[in-house]
C-alpha cells in the first residue's frame, strides 16, 4: 500500500523556491494505477516519490508502512522503477550481466546468479540475446531488458515512468500487455490514454496538483477536457 500524507516537492529556483508538487494526500491500494498529465505537470515527481527517488519537502510518503525518508533502502527493495529511456537504466554490457547485477542485491553468488539471470531472461523471451552487446538491442528489447532487470528482484510494487514513450506500436503493445499481466501493484505514468483506460484508478496531474482522482474513463475524459482536445 502506498500512502502520501500531505507530501509536497519544492526545488530551489533562480528566483526562490518552486513548487513541483503541491501537498498531496493519497492512499493507493488498487492493483493498477495510472498517472496522466501534460509534460512538466508533476506526474513523474509524484511517481518518484513512491520509490524514494524524490523525497518529500513536506509531509510523508509510506510504502507498506515504511517511510521513504527514514527507510529509503527498504522502500526501494519493495518498489521497482522503470524509466522511459532504457539506455540510462541498463548498466552492464550484456543483458545477462545486467540482470545479474540486479540479483547481486539478493546476495546470490557466481553460478547461481548467472543461472537465475538466464532463467529471468528466458521468462521475458530475451534468452537468445543474453550475451549480445546491449548496444545492439532495439529500443523495445532494451526496455524489456530494463523491465526484466527490475522485476528480477521481485518487488511488490512497480512504478513505470512513461516506459512506452520511445517505443513503436508493436513494442508499446508488448510492454503494456506485460505490465497488465504482472502480479505486482503497478503505478504507470503514461501519455498513452488507451493504456490508462486499463487502470483501476487514474490520477490526473496538472500544474503540480492532482486535479482528478477516480475511475479510468471519467479521468481520461477529464484530462481531454483539460487539454482542450475532443474525445
Amino acid at each position: 500500500m502506498i500512502e502520501l500524507d500531505a507530501a509536497s516537492v519544492c526545488v530551489e529556483g533562480p528566483s526562490g523556491e518552486v513548487t513541483i508538487l503541491s501537498p498531496t494526500t493519497l492512499t493507493l491500494t488498487e492493483r493498477r494505477v495510472s498517472i496522466i498529465g501534460a509534460n512538466g505537470s508533476g506526474k513523474s515527481t509524484l511517481a518518484r516519490l513512491v520509490n524514494g527517488l524524490a523525497l518529500p519537502t513536506t509531509g510523508y510518503v509510506r510504502v507498506d508502512g515504511l517511510d521513504s525518508h527514514d527507510d529509503g533502502a527498504a522502500v526501494r527493495r519493495r518498489v521497482g522503477f522503470v524509466f522511459s529511456d532504457a539506455d540510462s537504466q541498463i548498466v552492464m554490457p550484456t543483458p545477462l550481466e545486467d540482470v545479474a547485477l540486479s540479483l547481486r542485491r539478493l546476495g546470490l553468488r557466481g553460478r547461481e546468479r548467472t543461472d537465475r539471470a538466464r532463467a529471468i531472461l528466458a521468462r521475458y523471451s530475451l534468452d537468445h540475446l543474453a550475451d549480445v552487446s546491449v548496444h545492439a538491442l532495439s529500443g523495445g528489447q532494451k526496455q524489456l531488458l530494463a523491465l526484466a532487470g527490475v522485476l528480477a528482484t521481485e518487488p511488490s510494487i512497480l512504478v513505470c515512468d512513461e516506459p512506452t514513450t520511445l517505443l513503436d506500436l508493436r513494442w508499446r503493445t508488448t510492454i503494456t500487455a506485460l505490465l497488465a499481466a504482472l502480479d505486482q501493484q503497478v503505478v504507470h505514468v503514461t501519455h498513452d490514454l488507451d493504456a490508462a483506460l486499463l487502470a483501476d484508478r487514474v490520477l490526473v496531474v496538472d500544474e503540480g496538483s492532482v486535479v482528478f482522482d477516480g475511475e479510468a474513463r471519467t479521468a481520461v475524459a477529464h484530462y481531454r477536457a483539460l487539454m482542450g482536445t475532443p474525445a
Partner: protein, 225 residues
C-alpha cells in the same frame, strides 16, 4: 537517418551498391565473446594479476626482440580466445594506428629500436586487455574486483562501489562514443559540422544528463543501498 546512412543510401543507383553502414565504433571494452576456451576458464583474478605484472614488466623492456615477442604472445592469446575476427580488428584498429603514430615519433626522436619497443609494447598491452575483457564476463570481473578490493574497507572504501565504478566505466566509454556520433550527425543535419560549439555543448549537456539518469537508475534499482 544518420549522415553516414544518407551518404550510403544516396549513392545507390548512380554508382552501384555501396558498403553497408557500419555501427559506431565502440572500442574493445565490453567486447565479451562467449566461448568455451581455456582462457574463459581462467579465474578473473589471475587474468587481472597477469596483465598487471606484464604491464609493469614491460616498462623495463628495452630490447625490440622482447617487445615483439610480447606482441606475438598477446596475439596468440587473442587467437586462443577465439574472438570474432572482424569486430576485434575494427575495435583494435584505432589503437594500432595510435601506437604506430607514437612509434614513428619515437623513430624520429630516439631511433628504430625505441620505436619498435614503444609501438609493440602499447599494442601488446591493449591486446592483452582485450583478451581479458573478451574472455571475462563483467559480472565475474565485479566479483574479482570486490574480492581484491576488500582490504580497502579499512580506509572507508566500499569494494562494491569500486567494482560498480569499473563496470560503469566499461559500459560508459562505448556509450559516450555512440553519443559523439549522434551529436556529430545532429550537427551535420543542421550544416554545423565545422562549428565546435555545435558538437561540444550538446555533447557536454547530454553527457551530464546521462550521468544524472544513470545515477537515478542505480538508486532506483537499489544497487548502491
Amino acid at each position: 537517418m544518420s549522415g553516414r546512412a544518407e551518404r550510403a543510401a544516396g549513392g545507390r543507383g548512380r554508382r552501384g551498391r555501396r558498403r553497408p553502414v557500419r555501427p559506431a565504433w565502440t572500442g574493445p571494452l565490453g567486447l565479451y565473446s562467449p566461448r568455451a576456451t581455456w582462457l574463459h576458464a581462467v579465474p578473473p583474478g589471475w587474468k587481472f594479476g597477469a596483465v598487471a605484472v606484464v604491464s609493469i614488466a614491460m616498462t623495463f623492456v628495452r630490447e625490440p626482440v622482447v617487445a615483439l615477442g610480447a606482441l606475438v604472445v598477446s596475439l596468440a592469446l587473442l587467437a586462443c580466445a577465439r574472438v570474432p575476427l572482424r569486430g576485434t580488428l575494427r575495435a583494435l584498429g584505432p589503437f594500432v594506428v595510435l601506437a604506430a603514430g607514437i612509434g614513428l615519433f619515437q623513430w624520429w626522436t630516439r631511433g628504430w629500436a625505441a620505436a619498435v619497443v614503444t609501438a609493440s609494447t602499447l599494442t601488446a598491452l591493449v591486446v592483452l586487455a582485450t583478451v581479458v575483457t573478451a574472455t571475462t564476463r563483467t559480472d565475474r570481473m565485479l566479483d574479482a574486483l570486490v574480492r581484491g578490493a576488500r582490504p580497502l574497507r579499512r580506509v572507508g572504501l566500499d569494494p562494491e562501489v569500486l567494482a560498480l565504478a569499473v563496470a560503469l566505466m566499461l559500459r560508459t566509454i562505448p556509450a559516450l562514443v555512440e553519443l559523439v556520433g549522434e551529436v556529430r550527425d545532429a550537427a551535420r543535419a543542421r550544416g554545423l559540422e565545422r562549428e565546435p560549439r555545435a558538437l561540444l555543448v550538446p555533447f557536454a549537456l547530454r553527457t551530464v544528463a546521462r550521468a544524472h539518469a544513470t545515477g537515478d537508475a542505480l538508486a532506483a534499482r537499489g544497487i548502491l543501498d
